[in-house]
Amino acid sequence: MSQSARIVTAHWGDPGVITVDGYLAGGGYEGLRRALGMTPAEVIDELKASGLRGRGGAGFPTGVKWSFVPQNTGKPTYVVCNFDESEPGTYNNRELIEREPHQLLEGLAIAAYAVQSHTAFIYCRGEFLWPGTVLQRAIAEAYGKGFLGPDVLGSGYNLEVVLHRGAGAYICGEETALLSSLEGFRGQPRLRPPFPAVEGLYESPTLINNVETLCFVPHILRRGAAWFAAIGPEKSPGTKIFSISGKVERPGNYELPMGTPFRVLLEEHAGGVLGGRALKAWTPGGSSTPLLTAEHRDVELDFEAVQAAGSLLGTGAVMVMDETDCIVEATRRMLQFYAHESCGKCTPCREGTWWVSRVLARIENGYGRPQDLELLLDTADNMLFKAFCALADAAASPIQSSLRYFREEYERHVAEHRCPFTGIGPGAVEPERGPDETGSSGPEPSEPALVDLGEVLR
């Protein structure tokens, strides 16, 4: 994609855009100026006409979401920017902020004006110490220039923006958990309805948008809805940042039109699979989206096409595995994450993620039983759609998809009593390396105590 066709990453080559002056030189805050000359309803209509869909994973139409925020409720209206980027493999929000923080602040101000909110919070992931600092400085600059604060650009509209830092919990990226956390509680999800638009932060109407989504907003206001709607497929217009990592030559954030085939992202942008090896598996949108394989090379990366291929576009975080990577170990590591990050509220998720990660560990370590494969699927089925939020569904994704495409590999682990890739296990022929001394890879091969665990589950 040519430099000029990029939208939210167009200025990434210019280190000067980290400051407000650099941002203004590239036409910054013109979208906000235009929005303030329109009525809030006109701004929402512009967003609806653009067809922009949320980039945080769900793909909900942004303008429609804005229109759901009720007016004149007698309560304050809040806007919350979700900068708790933690989906494994996802790193576009961080780079958007580290390079051009005012792009987000401009989008946030436009969104707040559109829903007539005077207080906006940015929930910044705790581990993002430096990006949060960049953002805090940008907020101070924007106040100084009159883009935030009282009487924004002389329009009479007031907007306070508060940076709020999280403290290390993946679940806080889920919007209702984020609100619980921002209110000063454990970050546990809430039942919907009521939806945050009606009853969100402090039981008040709340609009929540992801960083990448808001970064598109100033451009739509500057250049018009029709311009944006003409890019990419009709139902998923615009561009998207794809974060590609794992076994590729050039991992990185690539902004491409929605609908770009995965093959183009992998081969033309990321330089192909590392070392010229064969592609084995990939996630289209983080570890929460079902794995796809080399057979899915030509899948177009947009909401509809990825779903038709049996997965989800998610955050556009593509993690690539090659022919030398063990799918059982990859799945085990993904489940270790979900077991750690489950908030503990719902039993299917709290218990399911833990059991499944133990069963995966024993298969990987050569102690699996033939019936473990069905046990995994059965447990995944008991997690899917059975909890308050999507974390349990996300945890089921790698289990079900890896067994769908790589069942033989699981069966080999069980039949040979070892991992065919590392050689580890009681059936080891020539182990290439010893057990992980840190204990982080689950139980040691010499400890088959978990064999009865599946019986208990039944």
């Binding site: 933690s86 790193y91 110490l129 600092t133 830092r165 999280g166 921002l182 000063g184 991992p251």
Partner: protein
């Protein structure tokens, strides 16, 4: 015993004022970072003081504090070294980097703080910088494409009292300083 000096108590009041009137409980995480910046972890005294500032019970504050991994409720090294071993980092050698960091800190299997108290080594989930895998954070400052050798160097430098230059941004002096920045009280320069 009071953890916060009178000056820090004043700052704590200002932190509450970031949130709407009647919603001061929202300041609980910044306040936990504040007491952590003084003690290097959050002790019972710290929990009590945050509770007092917010008009909550200590148990309510503890219930929140235990939920978040960046609020440290147990002894913690002067520096915290987080090593990502999530999938994208694991595919690029994250487990080996983690093992090397633990070895350089001379950690026995169940320990996470080095005997000299200089470093805590923590196996971390995805740190959102997978293009630079394997990723290590030292007091939440990022180090990109870390090899096992580089991990050993980082830990050894920290144990000698040196703060290594991060790949981007500014390095906090130590974990307490990082907590102070996270409380929103300081812009690191």
């Amino acid at each position: 015993m009071a953890v916060l000096t009178p000056e820090l108590r004043e700052q704590a009041e200002a932190m509450k004022a970031r949130y709407p009137a009647g919603r001061e409980r929202s300041a609980i995480l910044p306040l936990l970072y504040l007491v952590q910046s003084v003690e290097g972890s959050v002790t019972e005294d710290g929990l009590r003081e945050v509770a007092e500032i917010l008009g909550l019970r200590a148990a309510e504050v503890e219930a929140v504090a235990t939920f978040y991994t960046m609020i440290r409720l147990r002894p913690t090294g002067v520096h915290v070294v987080n090593v990502c071993t999530n999938l994208s980092c694991a595919l690029r050698g994250g487990h080996e980097v983690h093992t090397a960091a633990r070895e350089a800190a001379d950690l026995p299997p169940d320990a996470e703080v080095s005997k000299d108290g200089a470093v805590t080594v923590h196996e971390e989930e995805c740190l959102g910088a997978c293009d630079a895998a394997p990723v290590v954070q030292v007091d939440f400052a990022n180090h990109d494409r870390v090899t096992p050798e580089r991990a050993r160097e980082l830990v050894s430098a920290l144990r000698r009292g040196e703060v290594p230059e991060p790949s981007r941004g500014v390095a906090p002096r130590d974990f307490r300083h990082a907590s102070r920045i996270l409380a929103g009280l300081e812009d690191p320069t």
